[in-house]
Amino acid sequence: MNGAILVEVKNLSRFYGAFQAVKDVNFTIRQGEVLGFLGPNGAGKTTTMQIISGNLAPSGGSVAIAGHDLLEDPRAAKNQIGYLPEQPPLYRELTVDEYLDYCAALNRVPRANRRPARENAKERCGLHDVGPRLIGNLSKGFQQRVGIAQAIIHLPPVVILDEPTVGLDPIQIREIRTLIRELGREHGVILSTHILPEVQATCDRVQIINKGELVLNESIEGLEHHMKSASLTVAFHHPPEPGLLAKLPGVKTVRVENDGRLHIFHDTQINPTDDIVRQSVEKNWGLYEIRPGRLSLEQVFLELIAEATAPEATSKMQPGAPS
């Protein structure tokens, strides 16, 4: 990732009354990058996105979009972003063409370029056949696409998508994901979601936010690293005594799963795979499956969130601290 920095968020915070929804968040997005913004409901994803898109004023910190400060020079900064909120901002009484023309006008696309801009956005979002149809009569998937078309019509360097695949069927979800990947080649894309596989499928980098704080900021490869664990899942046609396996070098515990598979936890330094395969051949255990155990993204997610909440819980126990 060596594109130009498109969005730079520094020490961002936001209060709703006394409640702090976003705490001191820092991150950057570069060109040609899809950033996944991940977090449970109420973690501050939408708030952060609303701030970056200029819909909400931050209580503290700064946002610079392509070098323009969002607070000092909002017009120049907003020119550089396209935003799809959680609920696409569609006028149901307009046709797709009318709506996209209006969006182009709002985003100061010169009059002569509006038509090509509209056609281009429709082409990219697979909307060529629905131009003259009323938005209110379109299916949810198509409405979602119109929402994305609206966000990219002025070809902004930064595209912000807030949960773009909610409520879509699996085929539509796949199409939207492909579209996001395509966008990520030229634009910088921020994608918020609470669906973990979506992040794995589309993003280059992942940020996990919980209770307003960033708890992880990693590339997808780095995340894969988090997900490797020291365990093996094996299955035999003639399973040996679990005790026999437990005696192999490096093996800590062996657990028998309900479906007959064995789950072997081993030392991180010594991998017993070779031993298991050799023993199986020698003693005719009939090994037919062996794979390294992986934590799912869900587990990493839960672990990180648990880590983030644990110190908080202990700090509350300190004497003098208000309970």
């Binding site: 909400l56 909120p85 009484e93 006008a105």
Partner: protein
């Protein structure tokens, strides 16, 4: 940019039956009153001719027509037109489209206001056809007509600004409509309270009606025009502030 927003508001009005039915109903009622007035004129025509310095045709018909229009339109039509402006966008969450576009709040507010003004002007143009149609058979006092319509235009522009502000306060169009109606009615009847008191007329001075009536008599007082301009500016500025507060509060 302001124009683009205004044009969309204007067009959107005509996409629903609301605008059409408003135009039809207002035209129908005013035409009925207009015809009644003409009939009155015809009945007393001979007596009027016998009088010295009798009121002319324009003087009998136009102030009455515009006086009625000034009650029906601000109190019944304007609240219905302006209630959706911001309230509905807030409810449908389409405001973020405007907020994330490179636009200032002032541009958004002015654009929406312009859309409503365009509609009200169309309505005025339709109404003006009625007295103007008399030119075929009579001499009209065009000065009086112009003054009356200018007054009505200012009055409608003022009430539209009030309606726009009320619409920025809520996400329920019906609440916006009722509040607009309330405020406008109050502004309309403020002068009632001052009646009978010698010095207690400052409330009456604020009354919309008192700043509209001179126009109907063909008197253009710049103080009246300034009153309307101030009313419009005040409520537009308040609307901008209110929308800005949306971004700050949330």
């Amino acid at each position: 940019m302001i124009f683009a927003i205004g044009l969309r508001e204007f067009k959107s009005l005509f996409l629903s039956p609301l605008a059409w039915s408003i135009l039809a109903v207002v035209q129908l009622i005013l035409a009925y009153l207009f015809l009644g007035r003409i009939e009155l004129f015809q009945t007393y025509q001979s007596q009027l001719m016998a009088m010295e310095s009798a009121p002319g045709l324009t003087e009998i018909i136009v102030p009455d027509l515009l006086g009625n229009a000034a009650i029906i339109i601000p109190l019944l039509v304007v609240p219905l037109l302006t209630m959706r402006l911001v309230a509905e966008e807030r409810r449908n969450r389409t405001l973020s489209l405007l907020f994330s576009a490179p636009l200032s709040m002032t541009e958004i507010v002015l654009g929406k206001y312009l859309g409503i003004l365009m509609f009200l002007l169309a309505l005025l143009a339709l109404i003006s056809l009625m007295p103007l149609s008399l030119f075929a058979g009579a001499h009209l006092d065009y000065g009086l007509i112009a003054s009356g319509f200018l007054g009505l235009a200012l009055l409608l522009a003022g009430s539209a600004a009030v309606g726009l502000f009320m619409s920025t306060l809520t996400q329920y169009p019906a609440v916006a409509a009722i509040s607009t109606f309330g405020v406008l009615l109050l502004l309309w009847i403020l002068d009632w309270s001052g009646q009978g008191y010698a010095g207690g007329n400052w409330l009456a001075y604020l009354s919309l009606f008192n700043h509209y009536k001179p126009f109907l008599d063909g008197i253009f007082d710049s103080a009246d025009a300034v009153y309307h301009a101030l009313l419009i500016t005040t409520f537009l500025v308040l609307s901008v502030r209110r929308l800005d507060a949306d971004r700050l509060g949330g």
